[in-house]
Point group: C2
Amino acid sequence: MDGEKKAATIIVPKGFLFSAVEAAIKKPGRKDLALIYSEPEAVISGMFTTNRIKAAPVKLDMRRIRTGRGRAIVANSGNANACSGKQGMKDAEETAALVAKGLGLGESAVHVCSTGVIGTPMPMERIRAAIPRLIAGLRKETLLDAAAAIMTTDTFSKVVSRRVKVGNVTGTIAGICKGAGMICPQMATMLCFILTDLSVEKTALDTALKGAVRSSFNRITIDGDMSTNDTVLVMANGKAANETIKEGSPEFSAFATALSRLAFDLARLIAKDGEGATKLIEVEVRNARNQRDADKAAFAIANSLLVKTAVYGNDANWGRIMAALGYARIGLEEERTDVYFGKVKVARNGIATGKDREAAEVLKGKEIRITADLHIGSASSKVLTCDLTEGYVKINAQYRT
Amino acid sequence: MDGEKKAATIIVPKGFLFSAVEAAIKKPGRKDLALIYSEPEAVISGMFTTNRIKAAPVKLDMRRIRTGRGRAIVANSGNANACSGKQGMKDAEETAALVAKGLGLGESAVHVCSTGVIGTPMPMERIRAAIPRLIAGLRKETLLDAAAAIMTTDTFSKVVSRRVKVGNVTGTIAGICKGAGMICPQMATMLCFILTDLSVEKTALDTALKGAVRSSFNRITIDGDMSTNDTVLVMANGKAANETIKEGSPEFSAFATALSRLAFDLARLIAKDGEGATKLIEVEVRNARNQRDADKAAFAIANSLLVKTAVYGNDANWGRIMAALGYARIGLEEERTDVYFGKVKVARNGIATGKDREAAEVLKGKEIRITADLHIGSASSKVLTCDLTEGYVKINAQYRT
């Protein structure tokens, strides 16, 4: 369950090389430019922010992803290259072109991702200067460096890997991501790169990724804001030499399940590392009228600043959960609703059970489960979030200073 | 513009008496029970929270308001009497009955309002004990005491009054309210009581109140949470002896305008006194495709934690405003969008003007205007909010402790 521990024993899929350098996009002392390279051509699939304002590299990747093939991802932190006009697109294209040239690839085989401040021109002279070093540094062992180089306000790097058996072959999937703030369903300010040495058909990879994102990155929320840069890319390079995975096969099920679990583990790390967070909160709504209601209710609770500050303050203030349910615009009967912190039922049939003190003990933990049982249907929904602390305010009041 | 100053020269409408006492619902040393009494029977109109979970007194008032007539409002802070089941309704009814008995009124002439913690039983023995004192204390001069007694985390009491000339008669409208946290459109955790000595027909009063709330309390947002207890009540007792105001008359226009202005002033005080706030933020979206889009965009900006923390930190991070517009699900063309802090244009046609430093100076003020000009239509919308600070987190993490 603990991704930080897992990072120590990460398995790297075959045929991928990594590199990360200091390009001085961020303050000195931190790597801020990463490169992922697949030795064989890989099948590639991607999902992108639904924000109407999309960063230049997002627009570029959305175009390139249509080819279904790719070899490299170049990603920087420190600058989002968003709201950067035509120059922003030129800069994204140039970055890709420089990487393509250095690696001897066609330009369309290179994807570009950026994360950081919006509306500031890319420091292209520094990026140009850094790319030769970046390419020269490509190694099998440096996945962790790449994960570190895409961090912004993340407090730890996020890497997860797992083995997956398909037919007679055991392949590997590894993923790195960055999250922290501006995290909201329909993805977070997050970049996530998932790599596998399995061979997967393009349509199968698309389907598996869609399912994985739906049950992971689209179920976390930090502050309700949604970024201009969210990108998830998955590359499958076939180095494991399995028979190519096709949709509908038993191998597909195994692969899709593994991909979903890996994505969920990464999403969990993002929620845990929400800006300023001290606690991971898992909200579950049970027995809602329908799926839409269950999701709306779970997100209403998870996005409530009053709920999130109460958890931070170890205050079992379940009234705020009831209030959030009340404004979620869902089917709801106050006198049927139960609320739990962990296993402690704090409200039964909409009124207090008097167990606030036991619940306050539960809240002292680092991983808090909030359950609301609506007792009017059978749909349920889970959402991950974190508490809201002075740290969040500090980070975001001073982000650019 | 400054309600705190205005409070010093408040004009009290004729025929109303006020009282406030310490009933020990809150911690000692603070008045927490207030009474407003109209000597003549008043026409009464009300608007209530749209939260599906409604506090007992809200349910009671929603029933009683149908008579269109009232004499008294009894309001407590410290306990919301929400999620309190059948006992909660009994408690609200008993409170009203005790006041009615003490004043020699029918029970339905008394409205009840509560604000404070959700899910805790009302301390009825203390309320019972306090009501005789409360009634005995009724005076013309104690409007300010009543305003103080309904405060929760408010840092100053909110009182506004104005004269209004209708025909040959000059009447008075005064309003008190409490706000602070859980403030969201469709009203805030707010109680607001507006009193006038003018004579107004019931339907005219309803229409004027609806208009006033739409352009005031429904245009403020502190944290996106919506309370179980929001109530606005307006009483018109006719003591000014004007000809009864009817809808559609010139007198109605004068009255409705005055009521809207008074409500806006109160709403402004609520936004200014948002929990932990150091700055009032006025968000204006201009030239949106239509009204719905303009409202959605203004609220998306006003509810963005990233925007609110940036304002707190004097950081002209307009990219966060663009990002909020991007996820507002509105018609938007990035390359046409301009953004201003005060009069400083920080983004033109979706890209930086390089004036972040001038804008940061603007942000050092106490009242910040953010304008987004979408240049794709002609609809505009204004929303009031405040910055998000460590103070908000502190207040809400420790609210019940």
